[in-house]
Subunit: 129 residues, 2 copies
């Protein structure tokens, strides 16, 4: 079953109380995972329609792996699952925000979160925090 399409009037899309996700040309929507307790941003990933539906139905964060081109139940292999506390959608509904309880590391490098390097604006070097 497909989701309802986005409303053509932008202001209506901003204010509707209906879920009408706006997938991009590749059929994807951006998904930010944020730690529900600390508000730390854990990762940014992508969902297709099936991933968004699975996330809502199972309460377990499920993404679309662009590299593997397959549905990706987060932590299915690693055990590093994300229990979904809340899912929010942005104004034009082309991005979702998952508030999650993360088991273990969110990042495939073994770090808690993917955003572990800060850019020095002068030198453009990265430093790990």
């Amino acid at each position: 079953m497909s989701f309802e399409p986005p409303l053509t009037n932008k202001a209506d899309q901003d204010e509707t109380d209906e879920l009408r996700p706006k997938f991009n040309a590749d059929g994807l929507i951006a998904a930010i995972a944020q730690d529900a307790d600390t508000n730390e941003i854990l990762m940014l990933a992508w969902m297709n329609e099936a991933a968004l539906r699975a996330t809502l139905e199972t309460g377990r964060a499920t993404y679309w792996s662009r590299s593997r081109q397959e549905l990706w139940v987060k932590g299915e292999t690693s055990g590093h699952t994300q229990e979904v506390v809340e899912v929010l959608v942005d104004c034009d509904q082309d991005a979702v925000l998952l508030k999650v309880r993360q088991t273990g590391a969110a990042c495939h490098t073994g770090r808690k979160a993917c955003f572990y390097r800060t850019i020095d604006p002068k030198t453009l070097r990265l430093s790990q925090s």
Copy 2:
């Protein structure tokens, strides 16, 4: 001047201390803006190379407007600027996280942040928080 290209070895890209942003086929990278004080997620937008460079050079969040197809200095028209406190990059460098001090509303609807609706997983209705 262009940024250095991403490293072909994925593990090297994850660990390098060089800024090597990975732009998508449209030349864009996802940018999350987070309130530096409250950690609230304000918005998700896009940057091309010029926008990322301008953000780093000016300390004022600058995005690429996909609808207008032009560089978008956040708040240039509305006054709702974002002073950049810190810019982080994720593991594979295809997303950046801006920690910002937001003046006024981040969302074009006049709300503080764009993620103002929660999805009810059972009914798929949105409720405003």
